[in-house]
């Protein structure tokens, strides 16, 4: 038995961490809330493309890195930590690999891997995250993946709590293309895993911000982090994160090895990660006091992203219900 990340995975994680912390500051995330930030967002996507992140799961013969889900998990945790905007989980985990397995989509795949085309992948069309930014749309309809390009759809903006999500309702105006892709089930599990990993990154960021804040903020002449009520709340947040992360790694390893129980493992990971993120967001806002209840302070960027990602690809309750069914109780 061995349950540690390999040196290769750690090297990728560390390389990406350094690049993201240098290139995805919170003002970029803030600016991503309107079209004025598009250029910076696309600049970040170009950087990720240059690093190979967008093609992490795409076979090398198609211009990707040909890596597995463990790399996906650590990459998405790092992307979550900095709040990187755009449909990163969906592109890396599902859209790019699906396009790579769909003959005839070589041009779009090339543009996706170059960071020139952002693609949405969604089960529904009336609420699509980042629709306002996307150049192409992949919708699941009746078990098939349908592709529409931006010029064939009409996007009605949908105001969201996390303004950087740039969501929209998408109406397809011209008949879409059905992709010859059949392994949808595993692909959806991968997208779920990506969201779970991103949530752990978001949670870790919120906890880091909060632990710094409670050491700096003084009330009654002492740092508020010296009060047990605050300590215990943050200890609970750390426990949530520490016990969600290994479940994500295991789900990733199971997807990578084709474990027949991989879907269970993904559901456990998403349930734990969504639960952790919800709890950490709430605790972080509370421990920041009124500061946490403002838009000027950066914490809200991560909390709002976390709320949205908690629900993406099934919230904690949905995955717990899935487990309950599997347990046959």
């Amino acid at each position: 038995m061995n349950f540690a990340l390999s040196e290769d995975v750690l090297a990728v994680r560390d390389g990406l961490r350094a690049a993201l912390r240098a290139n995805c500051p919170t003002d970029l995330v803030r600016e991503a809330s309107s079209s004025q930030g598009d250029e910076r967002v696309r600049g970040l996507w170009k950087l990720l493309a240059d690093m190979g992140v967008l093609g992490l799961l795409v076979p090398e013969s198609f211009g990707g890195l040909g890596l597995d889900e463990l790399f996906l998990a650590v990459a998405l945790e790092e992307l979550g930590y900095v709040g990187a905007p755009g449909p990163l989980g969906e592109v890396i985990a599902i859209a790019a690999p699906v396009l790579a397995q769909s003959p005839g989509q070589e041009d779009l795949l090339t543009r996706v891997l170059a960071g020139d085309a952002l693609v949405a992948f969604s089960l529904r069309d009336d609420h699509v995250a980042y629709a306002q930014l996307c150049d192409a749309f992949l919708f699941v309809r009746e078990g098939q993946v349908e592709l529409s390009t931006r010029d064939h759809v009409e996007v009605t903006p949908l105001a969201t709590v996390d303004r950087s999500r740039r969501a929209g309702s998408v109406q397809v105006r011209v008949a879409s293309t059905t992709l010859p892709f059949s392994r949808l089930r595993g692909a959806l599990e991968r997208a779920t895993l990506a969201a779970a990993a991103e949530l752990v990154g978001l949670s870790a960021r919120m906890l880091d911000m909060t632990k710094e804040y409670v050491q700096a903020r003084q009330q009654f002449g002492v740092p508020i982090g010296s009060f047990q009520a605050v300590k215990h709340a943050l200890a609970n947040s750390l426990i949530k994160i520490e016990f969600a992360r290994p479940a994500i790694w295991r789900a990733a390893a199971s997807l990578s090895s084709g474990d027949p129980q991989a879907a269970w493992h993904v559901s456990m990971a998403k349930a734990l990660a969504s639960d952790a993120a919800r709890e950490v967001a709430k605790t972080s806002i509370q421990c920041h006091g009124a500061m946490g209840y403002t838009v000027e302070y950066d914490l809200q960027l991560f909390a709002k992203r976390a709320w949205a990602r908690c629900a993406d690809w099934g919230d904690s309750e949905q995955h717990i219900a899935r487990i309950a069914n599997w347990l046959e109780v």
Partner: protein, 395 residues
């Protein structure tokens, strides 16, 4: 920024993440499973926290010892198998899967023995460890006092120097001593420097409970069994060789024991995996269809047991690498103790009106409520997590 996959890998590649048994782990598992299936007593033994039940459990401990399953991770010369941590985890998983009885020798094996291995003299090791492994000597923990629970460093039981006798004289009282009324020996902390305060000036003593001047009074725990005891020391003489480690170093030695107590060795994941699986089998036989919240709670408890197992697997890998963080065991302790309460509360809800019937489920429920208290309350653990893992200032 370069392509990720071409980044230099500085050290030797580790093996791939793999949660399956290696061939030798698989054969260890199969040997353990076979033996346990053939030997675990049929039906529930009487509670090990009663005198009669304790005796019956000791027979089982003797049987485990003779087959070399009582202390698998110990060296073979003390009755163990030199098992790796992975193998120890496998044994625990199989033990609880097979429905193995409560381990009444646990406090010696898991709390005291690590300290004897770390700082005991050769003769202490040779004399005490085999007798502990076989259950010939049973050890209880003498740390808490009426005025010293969470604030353990405030203990006042004294050890006074007896130069003429070549030893020490103990006086004071220990309490909430688990199975103190049935055990043969006690390991405890006593204040050996009368001028000292707090954690300085404490010494770690090992003594038989039949020493002149020791008196023991058993009393009922929450479930009514005589699982607790007060232990009184009235000028009890103990020789110098009854000191574990150096005089005045008791706190440091005890703390290295508590980290094993809180963490993995006290509650391995196999126990909760088995517990939640038993609950699942029980629930399957009930009609929960109309009680959707119970299905959800059971599934949550199941996820919790898996999360604990996965966390500990990562922790064991970090132990092997030498990268486990100080105070990490506090994460285990809070998690497993609250998970156990969650599992048992779910069982009580599924049982409904039958939950009040005195039996294995109601007893497991009451026992679970001790988890957040013993081995350092969860309030203390959360302080440790905040201060040592998150770096928050001490209160």
């Amino acid at each position: 920024m370069g392509r990720l996959a071409t980044m230099p890998v500085t050290s030797a590649p580790k093996e791939r993440m793999d949660l399956t048994d290696t061939p030798s782990e698989a054969s260890f598992r199969s040997e353990a499973r076979t033996w346990l299936e053939q030997n675990v007593p049929q039906g529930e033994l009487p509670s090990g926290d009663t005198r009669a039940g304790f005796e019956r459990h000791l027979e089982w401990e003797q049987q485990l010892f003779e087959a070399k399953w009582s202390v698998v991770s110990w060296p073979t010369k003390y009755g163990g198998r030199d098992a790796t941590v992975w193998e120890w985890l496998i044994f625990e998983e199989e033990y609880y899967r097979a429905g193995g009885p409560q381990r009444v020798t646990q406090n010696g094996i898991f709390l005291l023995a690590p300290s004897i291995f770390a700082v005991g003299t050769a003769s202490q090791q040779d004399e005490l460890l085999p007798a502990m492994a076989s259950g010939a000597q049973t050890w209880c923990q003498g740390w808490s006092e009426p005025g010293s629970g969470s604030d353990l460093a405030s203990i006042v039981s004294r050890a006074e120097r007896d130069e003429a006798g070549g030893g020490w004289r103990l006086s004071g009282q220990k309490t909430w001593t688990t199975r103190g009324a049935f055990c043969t020996h006690l390991f405890g902390l006593f204040r050996s420097d009368p001028e000292s305060t707090r954690h300085r000036g404490l010494t770690y003593f090992l003594l038989p409970l039949d020493a002149p001047g020791v008196s023991v009074r058993g009393f009922g725990r929450l479930d009514g069994d005589e699982g607790f005891a007060d232990v009184f020391f009235d000028d009890v003489f103990v020789p110098d060789h009854a000191v574990l480690g150096d005089v005045g170093q008791g706190w440091r030695i005890a703390m290295s024991t508590t980290s094993s107590e809180r963490g993995l060795t006290l509650r391995s994941p196999g126990r909760f995996s088995a517990s939640v699986e038993r609950l699942r089998q029980f629930a399957k036989a009930q009609d929960l269809a109309l009680r959707e919240p119970l299905r959800q709670r059971l599934a949550s408890a199941w996820i919790g047991a898996e999360a604990y197992r996965l966390f500990t697997l990562g922790q064991v890998s970090r132990m092997i690498e030498g990268t486990v963080r100080d105070a990490e065991s506090s994460l285990n302790k809070v998690f497993w103790s609250e998970l156990d309460v969650e599992i048992q509360e779910t069982a009580m809800s599924i049982l409904g009106e039958d939950a009040e019937v005195d039996g294995p489920w109601s007893r497991a429920f009451m026992f679970s409520l001790g988890g957040p208290i013993y081995a350092g309350t969860n309030e203390i653990q959360r302080n440790l997590i905040a201060e040592r893992l998150l770096g928050l200032p001490r209160s």
